[in-house]
């Protein structure tokens, strides 16, 4: 089984977001970087499939050179190889991103590697475009199952499950090769081991120069949503505050008198 996982480097924002002066990006001076939890689960899923069925896994990112850090993180989890699409500093729009990934998949095919499964996150953590995986699938004429939380692959076929809008599971069966967009919860990703990290450091990263074909959605500026007003009412300290809490619950009609 040959599996490709596409991931995007994003800042690991915490309690609040600060923007740069030019409003073009998040101020990342004090932040680390990561990938979406959806994509981390996609990496784990790829590693498990290869552990169980053989073959190899490849992680790909389009971004600046520092995004190689996220490729190494993936290899520390057990992904076998990595491709860096050198996209320079600024963010590519979803159409341009999809086109660059399609180009890379085709070039891998020319080099003799064809993927049985291509994994994406259901949506990128930062831009939340909800489209790159689906665009890639159409360009490669592959079926795409979106938002999955269970996947079984065997003998050229896949059974995927995702949550229905009102709970329960929707089941999809497709022939491979296919594209899957994955949601967190499909598995619990392992923590990278120290030997895994050391191995990842030494591995080669294949660099490619993608063609940039800008699409019709262009970022103008970022802005913070209006702050919710309102002041927190401190009900007290420790267990002594319990009566005040119960009174509030009674006022809200959650506890009968």
């Amino acid at each position: 089984m040959e599996v490709l996982v596409c991931v995007k480097r994003v800042p690991a924002t915490g309690g609040r977001i600060t923007l740069t002066q030019d409003q073009q990006s998040i101020d990342t001076k004090f932040l680390g970087f990561t990938v979406s939890p959806h994509e981390e689960c996609a990496e784990e899923e790829a590693v498990r499939i290869v552990e169980q069925q053989g073959g190899s896994s490849t992680v790909l990112t389009l971004g600046p050179e520092v995004a190689v850090e996220q490729l190494r993180d993936a290899m520390a989890l057990g992904v076998d190889r990595a491709i860096w699409l050198d996209g320079g500093e600024d963010e590519w729009d979803p159409e341009a991103t999809a086109a660059a990934i399609v180009e890379a998949v085709r070039s891998e095919e020319t080099a003799g590697r064809s993927f049985d499964a291509i994994f994406f996150g259901n949506e990128a953590a930062d831009s939340g475009g909800y489209q790159v995986g689906i665009r890639v699938a159409h360009a490669l004429d592959l079926p795409c199952v979106s938002g999955i939380k269970r996947l079984e692959l065997s003998q050229g076929k896949a059974t995927a499950r995702r949550e229905g809008a009102s709970g329960g599971w929707e089941i999809f069966e497709v022939d491979l090769p296919a594209v899957f967009t994955i949601k967190e919860g499909i598995n619990l990703p392992r923590y990278p081991s120290v030997p895994g990290r050391l191995r990842a450091k030494k591995k080669e990263v294949l660099r490619m120069e993608p063609t940039r074909r800008p699409g019709g959605l262009g970022k103008l500026r970022l802005k913070l949503p209006p702050e919710e007003e309102g002041q927190v009412q401190i009900l007290g300290n420790g267990a002594d505050a319990a009566p005040a809490v119960v009174e509030i619950m009674q006022q809200l009609g959650l506890v009968g008198r």
């Binding site: 309690g15 939890p37 909800y130 497709v174 619990l188 970022l222």
Partner: protein, 317 residues
């Protein structure tokens, strides 16, 4: 003309489609709708000012098939050339619109909260699940966008219409049916996180899987359920199905009790629709306090059982 793809929840249009219809009336003078496998929704859509309902039906489309459903939208776009196509910002809305975008080569903006129309649209859309907004230029002969969930309240049109119903029998290519729902499994019983009236949230501060017993007890007393932060699911203390946030479930209870949760933006976007938030935290400077209505400063291991005792006493008198 603005075309809206309407999704159904059971036999009725779903909430987010009604939001999209309301949003559409703000953009264009005339609104039409396309609905797949929906019988009898025309009068409901008329209340939202829809002039024409394009009702697509075919046995092959009886259950969800994203690419085939998208092709139905594309066919109607080809004949009517709408200025824009909208859908609700549900998982399915975003998915179908992304297929429409991929098939037509048009740009697509997901989860918009505002639109300025023109040759190009300037849209304001959600990033980071809504913690950040982006202004973007959306160009193309037809603008494709979804409306961010609950960014406006669904409102019926001032004057209801009696929609013309255009029955559509689609021509479906085999390749568009490669992905479709071939089976369903029913939901498990119990209080669902998304619909619970009370959610007792636990974060890293709970300290261990066993530590959740007091939260389970409190939730049971209140007829609610437990929700958790990603720190908790990553540690394997609780299943991901309980995670609240950007990559978990969005909740909207009457009361959310956040115990030992710091209040990272990705958690907040999942719980900010709660009517009231009570934070229980040892740290008076925890970011969660900026979003909370009430707070207790202290160790949740002491506070939570004391609240449970207080409730029992109140119920006994």
């Amino acid at each position: 003309m603005i075309l809206v793809w309407v999704d159904l929840a059971g036999p009725e249009p779903d909430m987010m489609s009604l939001e999209a219809l309301t949003f559409a009336r703000g953009i264009g003078d005339s609104v039409e709708a396309v609905v797949v496998a929906g019988e009898d929704v025309a009068s409901r859509l008329g209340a939202f000012g829809v002039g024409t309902v394009h009702a697509v039906s075919d046995d092959l489309l009886a259950d969800f098939a994203p690419a085939a459903w998208a092709q139905c939208v594309v066919d109607i776009m080809d004949s009517l050339l709408p200025e824009a196509v909208l859908a609700g910002g549900s998982d399915r809305g975003n998915e179908v619109m992304a297929h429409v975008a991929a098939k037509t080569g048009l740009a697509f903006a997901a989860n918009c909260v505002e639109v300025e129309t023109g040759d190009d649209y300037v849209v304001t859309r959600m990033r980071w699940g809504g913690s950040l907004l982006e202004e973007a230029r959306l160009s193309g002969a037809t603008k494709l966008l979804t409306v961010a969930p609950h960014s406006l309240a669904p409102e019926e049109a001032p004057a209801p219409t009696d929609p013309i119903v255009n029955q559509v029998t689609p021509v479906i290519a085999e390749e568009d049916l490669r992905v479709r729902v071939t089976g369903r499994e029913a939901p498990e019983g119990g209080v669902s996180l998304a619909d619970a009236r009370v959610v007792v949230g636990g974060g890293r501060g709970v300290g261990s899987a066993e530590g959740f017993r007091i939260l389970d007890d409190l939730a049971a007393l209140l007829g609610g359920t437990v929700g958790v932060s990603r720190a908790v699911t990553s540690l394997g203390w609780r299943p991901h199905a309980e995670q609240v946030g950007q990559t978990g479930t969005r909740i909207a209870p009457d009361l959310y009790i956040a115990c030992g949760i710091s209040g990272a933006i990705q958690h907040i976007v999942g719980c900010k629709a709660a009517k009231k938030i009570l934070a229980i935290n040892t740290d008076p400077d925890a970011p969660i306090l900026a979003h909370a209505d009430y707070a207790v400063i202290g160790d949740l291991h002491a506070v939570v059982p004391a609240i449970a005792e207080g409730i029992k006493r109140a119920l006994a008198t």
